[in-house]
Amino acid sequence: MGDHLLTLLIVIPLLGALLMLAWPHERSSDFRLITLAVMVLEGIVGVLIYLSFDPALSRYQLTEAADWITLPLGTLGTVSIDYALAIDGISLPLVLLAVLVLLVGAISSWTIAQRPRAYFSLYLLLSGSIVGCFLAQDFFLFYLFFEFMLLPMYFLIGLWGGPRREYAAIKFFVYTFFGSLLILIVMIGLYLSVMDPLETARMIGLLEPGVPGSMDAIRQVQQWLVNEQIAPEQIVRTFRFEYLADPANYLPGTLLSPDSTLTLAGVPFRLLAFWLLFVGFAVKLPVVPVHTWLPDAHVEAPTPVSVVLAGILLKVGGYGFIRIVDGFFPAEALHSSVPLAVLGMISIVYGGFNALAQSDLKKMIAFSSVSHMGFVLLGIASFTAEGINGALYQMVSHGLLSAMLFLLAGVLSDRTHNRTIEHYRGLIGPMPRYAVLTGVAFFASLGLPGFSGFVGELFTLMGAFRAEYLPVWVPALSTLGIVLAAAYFLWTFQRMFLGTFWYAQPQDTPLLRDLSARELGLLVPLALLTLLLGLLPGLLFDLTGPTVQAWLSGLR
């Protein structure tokens, strides 16, 4: 049991989904209970993983690996796809965040009454796929989970969404599918270029089957590879992250080998592959200008789906940057750090300005997400310990805060189905608790010291200033983002919550009840958590720090 914690984390929700399909139809109120139970179990497994993780070891832990598909292809070598899971300081915070946000989403799905079996089983399918994304150590497996997130998301938006849900769902799907296509192209290219040194050693006979591999054997095989002493049919191709990240495993003369001089229209293939991968994940983060699915998806999605979307789905993009884009193409990433950082800066400023111009509360929050995720890109592009740690921190912080913000927006749309900022004034009158918690969430999001938002912005900016490749004006202009955040959050707060009470549809005024116990129970712990992380950022940095340090030194 203890050896398969990571598998459990993926399997539990999938089993839950299966259970639902078999559950008697007439007991429709059980589905949310099953979901809640599954998510609580996930939480327990998450805590167990956290407890068995040793942050000081800067490598993969709790590794599980098994051969999944092995297919000999003659002179093309052998396809080897593994079921490999592991966790390190980069993925652990995101896994924990995912478990928490999914639990929050499950509780906030309580009021879903329309086709609950379909909704909750899709929700569980989505949960398993998201967690799988962060755990997978095989590119093929990762891609599988990555694609599997799209499908339930598409239906969750398209069936349970707002009035323009079909447009939003198809937009979301096509956008992200386009992104995954680019990833697929590079994945195939990588597959054609990389060998699995251990399996190859076994194939050659250097290692007896069943004997655990050693570094010596790997070195030996890699040496033979360079000397072209291995016959093509003996090479075992792989999708494993750890082998894709090691340049010594690349077959000489292939498209994506690090010493490849092949170019397409003057652009080296590796650089091309880097940018394809980058765009693929940039759609998810999202990075301006491939972000326009996000506001529509958020506006139309039901509250819990928005929470999951902003809280954890976007983070797959940031995770992909660190683990895959930068992990497999470090030289290209370093070489492109200026354009990457500039894109981050543009996202920050562009998202901020657009948030200021919105009149729909959810759209405003969606654009604030674009702006805040820009800090993630900026931090990653800095290639400094502060920047990368800051980016991871910012992802977790934004996960908590955006979950809070979308829950808060959901409170209003649940009650009146009207999220237009100008239609409300002085909500603090009828809904004082709601106003106070919104104020807390807004101030935390605009980077008030004491809350987590400040730390994320501080460290990503610090990393960007420290980065040797980046000109100073990039982070300096990015600080405009913190001015804009104050502007759009406080202007919204002033207009909707302060002043004398007024609502554009006076007949609906009785609907404006203050927060229920369930809503308070969701929001207050989240607020306390961002406060805790803001005061003691070490809680998170201690997890990520050693891994990021090792990752950085491996990069150069």
Partner: protein, 658 residues
């Protein structure tokens, strides 16, 4: 075992923070307790400061907040002479203001919130004062911004107050963004923001970079101390309760910028210093000119605060942060005194039991002759006003005089053109004397214009308001700072801060002459305001120069505040980018989607008519051919014979042709 200085800091910061948490979470139940609790907590803090003050030694206490990689981020607390001065000042003014507030806001329904926020402010302000490095200072700096936001918007039902609160926070944020940039640049170049470390390492930085860093850090001061171009939030901040204006927007918080400059003055290169000087000078003049035009009793004082802060920045600019701090201290007392007295006047002008009278109770044109009904308030106001105007025997004279001395000394070292700066400073002093005379006469002397409003029954302030006012007025006298009424250099303050000593016997006389000229001009203009002077005279409110042209800041308006953001360029860019978003980026995406659909239809057409049509054509042709061939299979022997002969003939023909 904790360091004693750490323990002390913990005590000083912990008390107000605890008070804030308890009061805020306690809700209305704690209304009865809020005032006394706030007063007690601050009094305890003041007592601790008095007991443990050790201004002659420097204690620091550091702790690692978080460490990333090999780089620990250290936060430092620092006790030195400057800290102790500010600790005493903040505690003292906060104490008086809270005593005053217990009476001033006694009818308030959310008293707990008021005192909770005040305690939060005290906590944050003490944090700034205790910070031994810029990063920690920035953290408290933002928290001060928060408490200022909460207190300006204390009456959250008033649209104008909440508008002003947001304006203050956002404009401060602009300065803070620059401040943060400076801090991060310092961290990047020197690896530390600790003042102690910086004194050693800053010298090794290239001057161009150091100038840039200095100017970025100065940005923080521009925001918080309301310097040009970020000064517009301060007059609007007067929407908050008057005691708040006294404590935060006159005596302490706005002085944080000057405190920051005092801490980092050693970082300024000559270029940076020149910029600081010019910004300070311009702010000083603009504030003074605006004060001459305002009619709202609090806004006059607010503009005057802007102007005085400009004067302090000017003092830093001429290289003497010590005299700037001196003026900060004297200004804290007399400006707080002025605001509390003004609050007493407003308190008297607001009719009991009515929250919205048919006139503006803060408009000085509705006042006049109040000295007879409010003698104590009158006395306090005049004493503090005299200190502000810079009359001899009052504290303001000493500190202003010290600044003039420094400015003249600086000008003498710089050359002829530089004399413009002290001359402009003197001119601003003359304006100060003018607008304070104007205010005193409009409010307290002349005709009793308030008699026009039968609901007004002016009354003297109760003791809990009167005592703080009187104490602050007393502290505006010269004796507390120097026994020589005309020279501060011999006083304890300057001696302790050990600023550079300059002396010129003619400067005090010159400044006295300018002040007297200002007073005479003020009396000449406003000595005889008639009983039926129009109230809505144009311009009713204002900054100087009057707004007739485009401004980057939108004024408050009841009608447009839901649609118009106060930073005009921000909103313009936002609208522009939103258009780009919907009409370009998203339109492209949609066009791409539509093209795909159209293309799909085209392909569908081709598929049905060309590809499928081809298939159909082939089957049709095959069918036709089959039918054709079937004609030959008709079972008649003649036809078969004919076919065979024809075939044979063709075969022979082919062979022959070969």
């Amino acid at each position: 075992m904790l360091d004693p200085s750490a323990l002390l800091a913990l005590l000083l910061l912990g008390l107000p923070l605890l008070a804030f948490l308890v009061l805020w979470s306690g809700g209305r139940r704690l209304n009865f307790l809020a005032g006394p609790a706030g007063v007690l907590v601050t009094a305890a803090g003041l007592l601790v400061c008095f007991l443990y003050a050790a201004p002659d030694s420097i204690h620091t206490f550091s702790f690692d907040w978080v460490s990333i990689g090999t780089f620990p981020l250290t936060l430092t607390l620092r006790f030195d002479a400057l800290t102790w001065l500010m600790l005493l000042l903040v505690h003292f003014v906060a104490l008086l203001v809270q005593i005053y507030s217990t009476a001033y806001l006694s009818h308030e329904r959310s008293l707990y919130r008021y005192f909770a926020f005040l305690q939060l402010f005290v906590f944050s302000m003490l944090g700034i004062v205790l910070s031994g490095g810029l990063l920690l200072m920035y953290i408290f700096w933002e928290l001060v911004g928060l408490s200022s936001y909460l207190l300006i918007g204390f009456w959250y039902q008033r649209p104008r107050a909440v508008w002003a609160a947001k304006k203050a926070f956002v404009m401060n944020r602009i300065g803070d963004a620059a401040f943060l940039t400076g801090i991060l640049l310092l961290l990047y170049t020197t690896g530390s923001t600790d003042f102690e470390v910086l004194t050693h390492s800053a010298g090794s930085l290239p001057p161009g970079l150091l100038t840039g860093i200095g100017l970025c850090l100065f940005g923080g001061c521009v925001g918080k101390s309301a310097q040009f171009p970020l000064s517009a939030w301060l007059p609007d901040a007067m929407e908050g309760p008057t005691p708040v204006s006294a404590l935060i927007h006159a005596a302490t918080m706005v002085a944080a910028g000057i405190f920051l400059l005092a801490r980092i003055a050693f970082l300024f290169t000559p270029t940076a210093q020149l910029v600081v000087l010019l910004v300070g000078t311009f702010t000083m003049l603009r504030g003074a000119l605006s004060a001459c035009r305002a009619w709202d009793i609090k806004r006059v004082l607010a503009f005057s605060t802007v102007s005085q802060l400009g004067l302090m920045v000017l003092a830093v600019g001429v290289g003497s942060w010590q005299v700037a701090l001196f003026h900060l201290t004297t200004h804290a007392f007399f400006k707080a005194g002025l605001f509390l007295s003004a609050g007493s006047v407003i308190h008297a002008m607001v009719p009991l039991g009515s929250s919205s009278p048919g006139y503006d109770p803060q408009d000085m044109r509705t006042m006049g002759g109040l000295r007879q009904v409010m003698p104590l308030t009158f006395g306090c106001f005049v004493v503090c006003a005299a200190a502000l105007a810079g009359l001899p025997f009052f504290s303001g004279f000493l500190s202003k005089d010290a600044i003039f001395l420094q400015a003249f000394a600086w000008a003498a070292a710089q050359g002829t053109l530089a004399y413009l700066i002290p001359i402009l400073a003197l001119a601003a002093a003359g304006l100060t004397a003018y607008y304070m005379t104007r205010q005193v006469w409009l409010v307290f002397m002349g005709e009793k214009r308030y008699l026009k409003y039968p609901e007004v029954h002016p009354h003297e302030a109760p003791a809990r308001m009167g005592v703080p006012m009187a104490l602050l007025a007393l502290l505006s006298l010269f004796v507390w700072f120097s026994f020589n009424p005309l020279d501060a250099a011999s006083g304890w303050f300057m001696a302790r801060l050990a600023g550079p000593d300059h002396h010129a016997a003619w400067v005090p006389w010159l400044s006295v002459a300018v002040t007297l000229a200002g007073i005479s001009w003020g009396y000449f203009r406003f000595g005889k305001v008639p009983y039926d002077a129009p109230v809505a005279e144009v311009p009713p409110e204002g900054t100087w120069p009057p707004k007739r042209y485009f401004s980057w800041l939108a004024e408050f308006s009841e009608q447009t505040q839901q649609r118009v953001f106060f930073l005009v360029p921000f909103q313009q860019v936002a609208v522009l980018l939103q258009r780009i978003e919907t009409r370009l980026i998203d339109a492209l995406v949609n066009a791409f989607g539509r093209t795909t659909v159209v293309l799909a239809h085209v392909i569908n057409w081709i598929d049905r008519h060309v590809v499928d049509g081809g298939v159909w054509l082939i089957t049709y042709l095959v069918g036709r051919a089959g039918r054709l061939v079937r004609l030959f299979q008709n079972g008649k022997i003649q036809t078969y014979y004919l076919t065979t002969v024809l075939g044979l003939f063709l075969l022979l023909l082919w062979l022959w042709l070969l």
